[in-house]
Symmetry: D2
Subunit: 304 residues, 4 copies
């Protein structure tokens, strides 16, 4: 199927939402982004690429990085990982401390902040050169050696990251963080600070869509079964407390970030990434969700 025309018509249809929502502004680096941008890119498992708009403009991937971090942790630890982090949807806002306290420091899933901080702690414990190995993995995944952390963004996040620091301290209290808290938080924020374009992310997520192909990138290996399970977690937990709504409207596993990006996959067909900075009240890109909803409606393709 050729998606180019579809992307074009989607873009025209969602113009009516162009001014809805508000970009993240809790750190200067995100606040200063021009909110009126939009890009989308599809990679099919057959090697076709379709894109529209600012598909080559790098943006802060933020929580989308949690998928990459989970992939590395699962590759290293296998099912032992699930002793320290769950796989159930959280049912509450992405940064809730309540659940963490009630459940004695075991985060609901690896895509809420608490879970991703535990994953960061695991990578720090298991990798010799965590920063270097992680970025090497991401670069190989998307076949682009220019991908990098944005140290300034990471630093800025840390300076305003009181809630994440509260979470990390609570995890440490419950002995679910081994490393030094500042070290763990720095690595966590560094992973979030990676900048990639729709094109880069779409290429990277192709490895999750195409789970029948060998997954081995910069030494990180996953079985087909492990990939499918990461996809299952994206389906149930990828959109904070809007996971059900996204599943209902779009019907694809995916992961969003407060930078305005959303990456989603149609297993064995394609991966897609859309980006637009304005967010709805749940922290997900307004135009991004609309675009993906139209994509599955127009193509009549969803996993359901």
């Amino acid at each position: 199927m050729d998606y180019t025309e579809i992307l074009e018509s989607i873009y025209s249809e969602i113009q009516q939402y162009a001014k809805f929502g508000k970009q993240a502004d809790y750190i200067p680096a995100l606040a200063k982004v021009n909110p009126d941008q939009f890009g989308i890119c599809i990679h099919t498992v057959h090697g076709e690429i379709s894109e529209y708009g600012q598909a080559d403009v790098p943006f802060s991937i933020q929580s989308i990085s949690k998928v990459f971090a989970l992939a590395v942790a699962l590759s290293i630890q296998g099912d032992r990982l699930w002793k320290r982090v769950g796989k159930e949807p959280s049912g509450t806002a992405f940064n809730s401390l309540v659940q963490l306290e009630v459940e004695h420091g075991k985060p609901r899933n690896p895509f809420i902040n608490a879970g991703a901080i535990v994953v960061a702690d695991i990578l720090l414990s298991c990798l010799l050169e965590p920063e270097k190995e992680f970025i090497a993995f991401v670069r190989t995944l998307c076949n682009n050696d220019n991908i990098n952390y944005n140290e300034e963004v990471a630093q800025s996040e840390r300076e305003n990251g009181y809630l994440n620091a509260a979470i990390a301290n609570l995890l440490k209290y419950h002995r679910n963080v081994e490393g030094d808290i500042e070290r763990v938080l720095h690595f966590y924020f560094l992973m979030c600070s990676i900048e990639m374009s729709c094109h880069d992310l779409s290429r990277a997520f192709l490895a999750f869509a195409n789970h029948r192909q060998v997954f081995d990138y910069a030494g990180i290996r996953l079985t087909s079964s492990q990939i499918k399970r990461i996809n299952a977690i994206m389906q149930t937990c990828g959109f904070y407390d809007e996971a059900g709504e996204f599943s209902f409207l779009v019907g694809l596993p995916g992961k969003s970030g407060v930078g305005g990006g959303i990456s989603a996959i149609y297993p064995l067909r394609y991966s897609v990434t859309v980006w637009s900075p304005r967010l709805n009240s749940k922290g997900n890109s307004v135009m991004g969700i609309k675009a993906l909803e139209l994509l599955t409606t127009k193509t009549n393709e969803s996993i359901f």
Copy 2:
């Protein structure tokens, strides 16, 4: 694909779990069921049927009925339905009052008890002869006119249903139940009391799997898009607070009941129902989940 041999080998592999778990015993009718039964049945969209074990023994479908009730409510109300009930996973046990109180009487989704009680209230308000029309719908869906409510079970549930009565009163307090509480609870318990076999349920769920075919049963009509959305909700909310685990292990949308049944679908391929009364601590059939996990592993087919 011929599933008969696969079902046979699944049965032999899960024998090791035959004595795990404990059947529901909060009412006599469920407590007296022989727990050492197992049945499974698959209907493909091409009309093939494969089954194994006690696939023709009727059992209490319990919460699986919530899918049928949702189908009727969505058919009648369309998207207005979502004003009274959400579509997000609950993240807590299936009967939690906490969330309902905090969220002012709007249940998280139609598959937790609170949501299903609201759906029951809607059917009572909108249908002329609710009991008669509902059972006619289910009979038509599974093409078996012998399907019926079990009044004794319904009565027995009501007598022990203090928690559901608490929920119904709380919903009424928040003005999300219109009808008389006893009337609503009776209809709710009646729907749960329906008895069907794996064969019947598998046939009934075929209509959800095969969403490209016209859905019109006893006057209840759904669009392809509505069916897919019901499937999406089954994926994220069908297994109480084990939805993520089921999605992770099995990778199919489905719905379980405390009678020990689980119905699941592989969109555009097949529908499957498995039944075995012993439940795990989350209220889902032990052998049922194992069987479905093996089914998607052995066939290498899941939606992810």
Copy 3:
């Protein structure tokens, strides 16, 4: 000390708050009360009586009845009572189901609705003629044989009492209510429906203030130590989630009701009841709290 002049000056000082707040209107009987009434009455342990305003107008005592019910239950059960109900402040609104669910059906204290429903259940189990014996106790306490239940109010409460019915069902689910739910709720609402004047209540509470005198009314006997413990619970739990504020401002143990009454005691000195129907957002009488705050300030007498 002669309190007459003090009461007069208090009345004049609180006129500025005369139109603040809103009377309870969830049932017709409360909604139709003239909100612009105010009465206050003090009984000292030496037998002096001072009063001002509509101190002889009967009003619905509502939750103030919980003190009388606790006295009866404690008299009958002694310390066994505390196995079924706690003595800690609830820290949340008076009708919260959350705490009850989290704490498996043991209410925090006998002055929240859940606790009072358990107390009602105990009285029904232990008394031969509960309605008759309870009203006899209250009549003897206040030395007024004209005191009675208001059946119409009780009936009206039940018809709108979905939240209390939810609580009763949840208690029953946790096996902390033995009797029939409708029977328990009826008796609970009946106790709340009693009508007494400031004069009556002040006289009745004198028995709690004067704990060195024998407590034996219509066969209900309490030791001095038991009376003091009831007073301690009034101090920490008597004002829903405003207990700390009342303790801070007034410094006396007391109990309020949504009818606008507040009864408080200064141990070994006096008991006081104030009534004015307009309530603040926490459900306590606006002018009642102001009057008691001024009383302890002007007399420079509080338990602290």
Copy 4:
């Protein structure tokens, strides 16, 4: 009244509980204390002193320091203080993050850790030399210039204080901590680390018992009304989630600490401090509570 004989007989009666409970051991300095110690001291408003056991052995006052910190903050800020911290009992364990998150960073009262951290932040903002001025106040209160912080204990607390660090970060996130988090935590832990004997504490709390006398210590001034309000908060919030139980059993306002100390007052009569390191499951001294319960029972004196 001469309390000497009473103290002696109390000591003999509580011997049966001598081995109940377990001392705090989360930091080495507390873990190494000999748990089999007991001391008690009473100062009356008439200048009499009665004591028994190790009444002169200094111990870590821990949370008892929260009363002194509140006194200083109230002296400086007056009623503005209550904009940043409440006066209601918390109804949950002393370190609960749940309530803090739900209530947007305003701690329930100044005696839970969150509230005391806010108070520490206030003192740091308002005092020129906080450490020096605070210890001067405490020394003057108890008339003992040898009282001091234990820097080693404070340091040790900080190293293990992940939960308090989580709380401080959450408060900062909600903008209810102004200062640098490490600075605030250090001062908080320093105040907790002060070492005083029963004699010292009893003397210090006399100023709260004797509220008709001028309160002016090292420049910290409180009105009689302010003292009474501190006493009221001790009554409702002084014993974590056992405040109701203590009020019920003992009937005096007081404050406990995990070092095993409890200070309580009988307004206009006496102040008492008891110390014994073994704690019950709520973090309050087992023998301390028993001793105070016997004291009010034997003397037949309580505020109720």
